[in-house]
């Protein structure tokens, strides 16, 4: 996943902020405990949101811990929980398949980075696969479906987004309470759809250059990877509709201690990030053009 999902900071209380940090640090420590120091590089905000959604909103016990990034000051850190363990497993599996996808999408030189990183993650992935065979299977399936749609040069934006959305929604399949499960599945479905579309918008220019499949390029009018004003509004509208679906679902379940953080995400944070992605300011430090990519493309 990609790091787009963030709460709106100004809507959080000091307590919320500490909680958010505690789950972030908790997930990081969980990754280290389950998959070793190296696996920590895969951590991002989207996965933190996944951990919060899966955790059922119970009050978390927090320890103060130090780590390599914060060696001087101890930080609040959420202790062990099933939700963190599951989120860590899913993170490893998702990242692994994303890297493998990067390998097949790029030529020899272009894929070097992906091959190197997936080499680093291989052992962690094998462990995660044993722990979550179903999720691993579904992730592989999702990528197969996506490859099929790519081959067809599918004109719909909903169909490719649906494969990723269903994959995320599946993370809630094991929730026992049926109301909570339906709410989570709906939230995760539209979170997945929104992330897929945001990522496609973010990569549009790059994909056109390298010739990779990008459904937005086929669905909307654009000039050299920049959507026309009208296209951009149409894309924004359909992304906003997914956010509203998430918000409507969010109101139907109790998210305990995470309520305020999730509320600020679905009523504000996602709109702000979406705006930044669509006007190209999301990455403050744009990726340097990688000279090897041209050779590889």
């Amino acid at each position: 996943m990609f790091g787009y999902v963030r709460p709106a900071q100004e809507k959080l209380t000091e307590e919320d902020r500490q909680r958010f940090q505690a789950v972030y640090c908790g997930l990081c420590h969980t990754l280290k405990r389950r998959y070793g120091q190296l696996s920590r590089f895969i951590l991002n905000y989207d996965l933190v949101m996944l951990a919060m959604l899966l955790s059922g909103g119970a009050v978390c016990d927090c320890d103060a811990k130090r780590c390599a990034v914060h060696p001087l000051k101890k930080r609040p850190c959420m202790g062990c929980s099933d939700a963190l363990d599951t989120a860590a497993d899913y993170s490893v599996i998702l990242t692994w398949w994303q890297l493998r996808d990067g390998v097949t999408d790029h030529g020899f030189w272009g894929s070097l980075k992906y091959r190197l990183l997936s080499r680093l993650l291989r052992r962690a992935y094998q462990k995660a696969k044993k722990r979550q065979p179903m999720f691993d299977h579904r992730t592989a399936e999702h990528l197969q479906e996506l490859a099929q749609l790519e081959q067809e040069q599918c004109l719909s934006i909903d169909r490719p987004a649906d494969t990723f959305a269903r994959l995320l929604a599946g993370a809630a399949d094991s929730v026992e309470n049926s109301v909570h499960r339906r709410v989570l599945q709906q939230m995760l479905y539209h979170l997945g759809r929104w992330i897929y579309l945001a990522d496609a918008a973010d990569d549009l220019k790059k994909d056109l250059k390298s010739g990779n499949y990008n459904p937005l390029a086929l669905r909307y009018e654009h000039t050299d990877g920049v959507l026309t004003e009208e296209s951009r509004r149409a894309l924004a509208r359909t992304m906003d509709q997914s956010i509203r679906m998430m918000a409507a679902a969010f109101e139907l379940a109790d998210f305990g201690v995470w309520t305020n953080i999730i509320r600020s995400t679905v009523y504000q944070g996602l709109y702000v990030v979406g705006t930044a992605v669509l006007d190209g300011t999301f990455r403050r430090r744009p990726k340097k053009d990688n000279p090897t990519r041209k050779a590889g493309a």
Binding site: L43, D162, T275, L278
Partner: protein, 214 residues
């Protein structure tokens, strides 16, 4: 039955005005308009029922008990209801009655099968195709089917309303303190603030191997 005050989220010492305010806010939140064609509409409907019952219970308690204030209006908001669950799909002469029933029962696969078996792709067919897409979360395609339905039958209010919802032209519920928002219409200066506030977690890096913006 749950404690009606708990349902409305107010203490039992709340004034009539406070109770009414809490009720109105919740009624706005679970209003049918916010869950139009939403696959979770049944859950919102249950919630609405609970809130209506709680409000009525408090009102009659206060009317009959010592807490009476004398100036309440019964069921000021009882108009907020969902009717029966097939209402939205029941009325009118429909050539696709079975499809509508299948949708109301949340059996989208059956509904789609029945639709695909039909060769008459009229306005209603396009509308129902849109409803199925919408419930599945295929929002862009839903919008396109609704557009076709409206084009073919511009006077049909049902189709027009569905399109309005899909286009986000209806005002959705927003919690207190959250103004209206739309992607592309908020200043991106805010975004930079988001990034800097989370500097504490500066270890973040994107899954694709890039460092993210903070």
């Amino acid at each position: 039955m749950k404690d009606p005050y708990q349902v409305l989220g107010v203490p039992s010492t709340a004034t009539d005005e406070e109770v009414k305010k809490a009720y109105r806010n919740l009624a706005r939140k679970y209003h049918p308009d916010n869950y139009h064609d939403n696959p979770l509409a049944d859950l919102a409907q249950e919630r609405m029922k609970e809130i209506n019952e709680a409000y009525e219970a408090i009102q009659s308690q206060r009317k009959n008990g010592s807490y009476q204030t004398g100036s309440h209006q019964t069921g000021g908001y009882s108009g907020y209801g969902y009717g029966n669950s097939t209402a939205g799909y029941g009325y009118g002469a429909s050539g696709f009655q079975r499809v509508r029933v299948a949708i109301a029962q949340r059996d989208l696969n059956l509904a789609e099968e029945l639709l695909n078996a039909s060769t008459d792709h009229n306005a209603e067919w396009n509308f129902l195709k849109g409803v199925i897409c919408f419930q599945r979360g295929w929002l862009d395609e839903a919008k396109r089917y609704y557009e076709t339905a409206v084009q073919m039958d511009p006077d049909n209010r049902e189709y027009q309303q569905a399109l309005d919802v899909a286009e986000g032209r209806q005002t959705a519920y927003r919690p207190d303190g959250y103004g209206s928002m739309a992607t592309g219409e908020c200043a991106s200066a805010n975004c930079l603030r988001i990034c800097s506030i989370l500097m504490c977690c500066s270890m973040c890096s994107g899954g694709g191997g890039y460092m993210c913006c903070c």
